[in-house]
Each structure stands twice: as structure tokens, then as C-alpha cells.
């Protein structure tokens, strides 16, 4: 069976849902950050697959994927800085204990 657009989109959906489960279910903040990266990568796969199969001559999806990578890099840097700062203050990376802004 020839591999087509459907295959890549289903693979992207599977990866996205695994990442979503990790974000919702995990308690370690670093693991949640890793699962967010999985979700962003799944979106990138869908964008590149659309770019390959729907508009093969324009590359718009690949350029969108580059911008997603830029935003993901910025998000990872700031997110890890926030996690390490909270770890310094509270000696924990458990998101159940991150209730500083709760009243």
C-alpha cells in the first residue's frame, strides 16, 4: 500500500494525543515540558506533510514549521528557566505543589 497524506496525518494525530496525555497526567514539570515538545513536533509533521502533498511547489508548510521551531525553542528556554527558578525556591518540580498564584 502506497504511503500517502493520510498516513502522515494519522501518525501526527497519534503523537499529538500521546503528548496530550503526558501533559494532562504527569506531575513532573520537566516531563510536562517534554510532552509539549512532542505535541509541537506532531503539529510540525502535519504541516510538512500538507506542504508535501497538497502544495508541493510552494513550501509554505515548511516555512510555518520553521516558525513553530523558533517559538518552541523560545518556549523551552523560558519554560526551563521558570521550572529551575521554582525549584530553587520550593525544592520541588511537582506541579501539584505549584500553587503560588492560587488564592
Amino acid at each position: 500500500m502506497e504511503v500517502g497524506l493520510h498516513h502522515y496525518l494519522v501518525l501526527s494525530a497519534v503523537l499529538f494525543c500521546i503528548g496530550l496525555y503526558g501533559v494532562l497526567a504527569k506531575r513532573n514539570a520537566v516531563v510536562i515540558l517534554m510532552c509539549i515538545e512532542i505535541m509541537l513536533n506532531a503539529a510540525n509533521i502535519a504541516l510538512v506533510a500538507f506542504s508535501r502533498y497538497v502544495v508541493p511547489l510552494f513550501l509554505t508548510g515548511q516555512i510555518f514549521a520553521i516558525f513553530v521551531i523558533v517559538v518552541a525553542a523560545a518556549e523551552a528556554a523560558v519554560g526551563i528557566a521558570i521550572i529551575i527558578t521554582i525549584y530553587r525556591n520550593r525544592q520541588s518540580v511537582d506541579v501539584d505543589k505549584f500553587d503560588l498564584m492560587k488564592w
Partner: protein, 161 residues
């Protein structure tokens, strides 16, 4: 041939992603995340996105995974493993429902695919698109500002008082 490569990559990718979610050792989860990033780069090559594959290896495998591993090592000693929280069953239900919906939508939609051969190599075309007059020059400059703001924010957050 390409379908064998695709199925092999798909199995490795889903296995690595499941390992990130299931493994209790955070460091091993980070290592399988690196494996996932590498296989995604190979998947980009099968989609004729050569420049994006190189960018994936440089940024994800090179930079972001190092950041995550450093974060794991800095926060390691008090926290052994990553146990699932109280919301495990609802999260599983929500993810499986969303997965079913997405797969149903993808299968039942009739996608208008173009039969033309893909453009390759893509590097020069992406560069022209990004930096030309009618292209994406404004988002490129905005993303430069975003990266600068992210670097400054990370430095300010991490600085010892």
C-alpha cells in the same frame, strides 16, 4: 521501499513517544525524547524536506534536548521518577477520544492532493521565500525579537539574587 521506511519510522516514533510518557525514570524519558527527535528528522527526509531535517537535528537534537537534560540533572535529587498524577484516567479518556475524532476526520475527509513532484532541493527556495519582498520577512524579524526577549527573560529568571 518508502512504505517500509515509513512504517519502521512510525513504529519507532510511537514507541519512543510512549516511552517518554510511561517511563518513570526522567533521564531515560529524556533520552527516548532525543530518539523521537532523530526519527522525526528522518521522517522529514522522506517528505522531501531536507532543510527542515537539518534544522530539526540542529535545534531539537542539538539544543533543546541538551536544555532538557540539563534541567533533568539540575532538578533530579529530590524527585525520583515521574509518577502519574490524580488525573490519569480522565486524561487517558480525553486523549483517546481526541485521537478517535482526529483519525475519523482524517480518514473521512477527501483531501485534494496534488500529483506534482515535490520541489527539491528546498534550501534555496525557502531562503527566497523567507527573505523576499512579498514573502515572510516581517515574521522573520518578529521571530528575531521573540528570540531576544526569550533569551533576556531566561537570563533574568535564572540570575542569582
Amino acid at each position: 521501499m518508502s512504505s517500509i521506511v515509513f512504517w519502521l519510522l512510525a513504529i519507532i516514533m510511537v514507541g519512543a513517544a510512549l516511552a517518554v510518557v510511561v517511563l518513570r525514570d526522567v533521564f531515560r524519558a529524556a533520552l527516548s525524547l532525543v530518539l523521537l527527535f532523530l526519527t522525526i528528522a528522518i521522517l522529514y527526509i522522506t517528505l522531501y524536506a531536507d532543510f527542515l531535517a537539518v534544522v530539526q537535528i540542529l535545534i531539537y537534537v542539538g539544543a533543546i534536548s541538551i536544555l532538557i537534560i540539563v534541567a533533568v540533572m539540575l532538578t533530579r535529587e529530590v524527585w525520583h521518577g515521574s509518577p502519574p498524577g490524580k488525573l490519569r484516567i480522565p486524561a487517558l479518556v480525553v486523549s483517546v477520544l481526541l485521537l478517535g475524532t482526529m483519525i475519523f476526520t482524517v480518514i473521512s475527509t477527501k483531501w485534494e492532493t496534488s500529483g506534482e513532484p515535490p520541489q527539491q532541493p528546498t534550501t534555496a527556495a525557502i531562503g527566497t521565500n523567507l527573505f523576499s519582498q512579498g514573502g515572510f520577512i516581517l515574521p522573520v524579524e518578529i521571530s528575531a525579537v521573540l528570540l531576544l526577549a526569550a533569551i533576556l527573560g531566561a537570563i533574568v529568571l535564572m540570575r542569582e539574587k
